[in-house]
């Protein structure tokens, strides 16, 4: 299953998506956050640890308690700054 990253997280990770083994699921947003810290370097880990980093599950912003199943579309990104 792929997990998408945007903005500074994408930049720090050096890619806009990560393949994540399906046997990591079902999981929760909180668990994914913790696991993903080791997906990049220290700077990426620090960025992911920022409590302001948002998660979207199936294109809806989801808090830490939301459960994630294989097949869901999951993305992490910093606070939005459009407009």
């Amino acid at each position: 299953m792929k997990i998408r990253f945007f903005a500074n997280l994408r930049e720090l990770l050096g890619t806009d998506e990560l393949d994540f083994a399906d046997d990591n699921f079902p999981s929760t947003v909180a668990e994914l956050r913790a696991q993903l810290r080791t997906a990049g370097d220290e700077e990426f880990a620090a960025a992911m640890a920022d409590p302001n980093v948002l998660c979207a599950v199936n294109q809806r912003v989801a808090d830490d308690a939301v459960s994630v199943e294989a097949g869901d579309e999951v993305a992490f990104f910093p606070p939005m700054t459009g407009g």
């Binding site: 979207a56 993305a75 700054t81 407009g83």
Partner: protein, 155 residues
Amino acid sequence: MLNVRITTDAIDVSSLLRTFSDQDDNVGAVVTFSGQARGGSVTALELEHYPGMTEERIGAMMRSAASRWPVCAMEVVHRVGRILPRETIVWVAASSAHRAAAFSACEFVMDYLKVGAPLWKRERDTGGNWHWVQARESDHERRNRWSAGVRKESS
């Protein structure tokens, strides 16, 4: 009629207003907002977005506005990619029979878009270095006015 479009092309607000204003007989008021890149210490912007989710979120904001005020039509066009000073970043238009609804709906969508649509901006400084723009607390405060029932006058 609610319409949202994300584009890498330059936004021609004049042309958008011509098309948007050409509506039915019930429209008495059209309010538009254009956000454009300022110059000075910023030499360029780059906008990144989450394709699909951006359109979906902005669409939801317009539907929410249309349920709160009797609007005839709304439109949002948001540019992504490289944007130079004076170029338009975003266009929001709202039409209604009367002005109160058009003003409120336009400002409501813009306030929600700033903090709730998956778009991210970085700026290039005069030295050529890029910096991610940080979300501003004041933008969250403006969005939250709409759920408080009373809108404080902006100063």
